[in-house]
């Protein structure tokens, strides 16, 4: 039971990270490889807000959300928009976003140094609950609550709101969207902002969960995020949610029952098997337009 809960907590963070990743892919057909850098940067910024700014963990979350959104706008402006007219815009965007991610990480190292950083002592409330014999902290409950709320909110926005309809129109056919009076550049920028805001919150939640922020945390989750969105079905929002939870659970159970050195073997092995059985991903590819 304890393991199940731990798997769900970490899995919800993976899912939140992956859902931002897959949003840009599903709507704009671009893979934003600066997404992991947003994840890492936000963890450091979150810790700084608590440490220097004296904010509580919870007050830091909305600020990090906005910080992520701004980063997303910058990523779109710097790494994607200048290349959008090119015939090889996909590949070019991939490379330029990797470059931008490298710069963000270098800036982090310059500002925070190479060492692992933690939240100051006493940042975490010690409220604990007993759930079916397992220990759950208030912090974990909030992590799960925040990620689920953001993911549900995003899905609702994409499927029901006017903005979401515009996003789906752009996903389906950018030319048609433009003919209909959609400002495609604006939808693109907003999509990046939302995606990065979610990635940023995922970053702080991750740092809160393990009370650690490291320069390498972005690249550590990058591969997981990619695996999750491929397994979930490229561009599928619910697919990323399920994929994230599956990965989190697989990791936790692998550590518990087989050994921590087997964690990645088991987790990625499982994803590999899922892909062999369902090459189109759990929920099929590019569902973002259809949901």
């Amino acid at each position: 039971m304890q393991q199940l809960l731990n798997g769900i907590f970490i899995g919800s963070i993976y899912a939140l990270f992956a859902i931002g990743f897959t949003l840009v892919f599903g709507i704009l057909d671009r893979l934003n490889l600066a997404h992991p850098a947003v994840f890492a940067a936000s963890a450091f910024v979150g810790i700084e807000l608590v440490e220097r700014g004296g904010l509580s963990l919870w007050a830091a979350l909305p600020i990090v959300f906005v910080f992520g959104a701004v980063l997303g706008l910058l990523i779109e402006r710097l790494a994607f928009r200048p290349l959008k007219g090119r015939a090889d815009a996909h590949f070019a965007g991939l490379i330029s976003s990797i470059a931008l991610a490298g710069m963000v990480i270098a800036l982090l190292q310059w500002r925070y140094g190479p060492d692992t950083r933690r939240f100051p002592a006493g940042s975490f409330p010690d409220t604990r609950y007993e759930v079916a014999g397992a220990q759950v902290t208030l912090v974990q409950v909030v992590i799960l609550g925040v990620s689920l709320a953001l993911m549900v909110g995003l899905t609702y926005m994409v499927t029901r709101s006017r903005l979401g309809r515009g996003m789906r129109a752009v996903a389906e056919n950018p030319t048609a969207a433009r003919v209909l009076g959609v400002n495609v550049d604006r939808i693109t920028a907003v999509t990046f902002a939302i995606s990065s805001a979610l990635g940023a919150v995922a970053g702080v939640l991750f740092a809160i969960n393990v009370n650690t922020a490291q320069l390498g945390m972005g690249s550590a989750i990058e591969l997981k995020g990619l695996a999750v969105i491929i397994v979930g079905g490229m561009g599928s929002l619910p697919g990323a949610l399920i994929g994230g939870l599956v990965l989190g659970l697989a990791e936790v159970f692998a550590v518990q029952y087989i050994g921590s050195s087997w964690r990645d073997v088991i987790a990625f092995g499982l994803l590999f098997v899922i892909l062999l059985l369902r090459p189109q991903g759990l929920l099929g590819a590019r569902k973002v337009r259809e949901v």
Binding site: G166, A169, A176
Partner: protein, 249 residues
């Protein structure tokens, strides 16, 4: 005669080094139906796309309701009432028919339920299937959806690029009937067609394009009556079955 609602002066459009439109001028009176006809590659779509703001002209000047819109992007023009029914329909195939119609009212920020209901009344096929993905419609129905979607935007000028393309003769009749209605409701229509005779019969004024330039223009009846023009530019029907019988010499 009133002032034209749309004027295009010496329009030029290039794709890289390819000059597709070399100095086209035309204008449309409010409430009239103007047609641009010409063979494949004559530059008709390039003209329409430049007017609708989908591409930037290399030169020339376009005015709409007296304002210069030469460099105004498409999303602003739709809000101003200049709306395009693009070549190849460009429906949003995986979105529902309802969402397609709703997208027509994107610029209003609202749902435009009233004008959508009006479209459902006018095109009952769409009403029956409103919850289906638009890709499930036949070609002719998709064309009706594309027209209905543009009408939801409440255009004052409607630019239509080959609305009869690839449709069966009966459906082409239907499309032209709808075009007639749109025009009768007071909306100015700029119609691009390869189906030149048919378009000229529906139009007040016609322009014949060839190699990116206007080679003939005038009242549509006059163009149709001129043997030399008919022979040189309209003589060969574009291979659309069902047209030849009606359109014979």
């Amino acid at each position: 005669m009133s002032d034209p609602i749309l004027t295009v002066t010496d329009l030029r459009v290039s794709y890289g080094r390819v000059e597709a439109v070399r100095g086209v001028s035309f204008s449309a009176e409010p409430g009239s139906l103007v047609t641009l006809v010409g063979a494949n590659g004559a530059g008709k779509s390039s003209v329409i796309n430049a007017v609708s703001g989908m591409l930037r002209p290399a030169g020339g000047r376009i005015t709409f309701e007296g304002c210069d819109i030469t460099r105004t992007p498409a999303h602003k023009l739709v809000a101003q009432g200049l709306v395009q029914v693009p070549e190849g329909r460009q429906i949003l195939a995986t979105l529902t028919i309802e969402d397609n119609l709703r997208m027509g009212a994107w610029h209003t920020g609202g749902t435009a339920q009233q004008s959508m209901d009006a479209m459902y009344e006018r095109f009952p096929v769409l009403a029956q299937r409103r919850a289906l993905p638009a890709g499930a419609l036949s070609g002719g129905e998709q064309q009706m959806l594309a027209i209905a979607r543009a009408l939801v935007a409440k255009p004052t000028v409607m630019l239509m690029d080959e609305p009869s393309m690839g449709l069966a003769p009966k459906i082409v009749d239907e499309v032209f009937r709808v075009i007639g209605e749109i025009r009768a409701s007071g909306t100015t229509v700029v119609l691009v067609e390869q189906n030149a005779r048919r378009a000229l019969r529906a139009a007040d004024h016609g322009y014949v394009l060839q190699n990116g330039a206007v080679v003939h223009s005038g009242p549509a009846v006059g163009l149709l009556a001129d043997e030399r023009i008919v022979q040189a530019y309209l003589g060969v029907e574009t291979g659309r079955a069902g047209e030849d019988g009606r359109a014979g010499p």
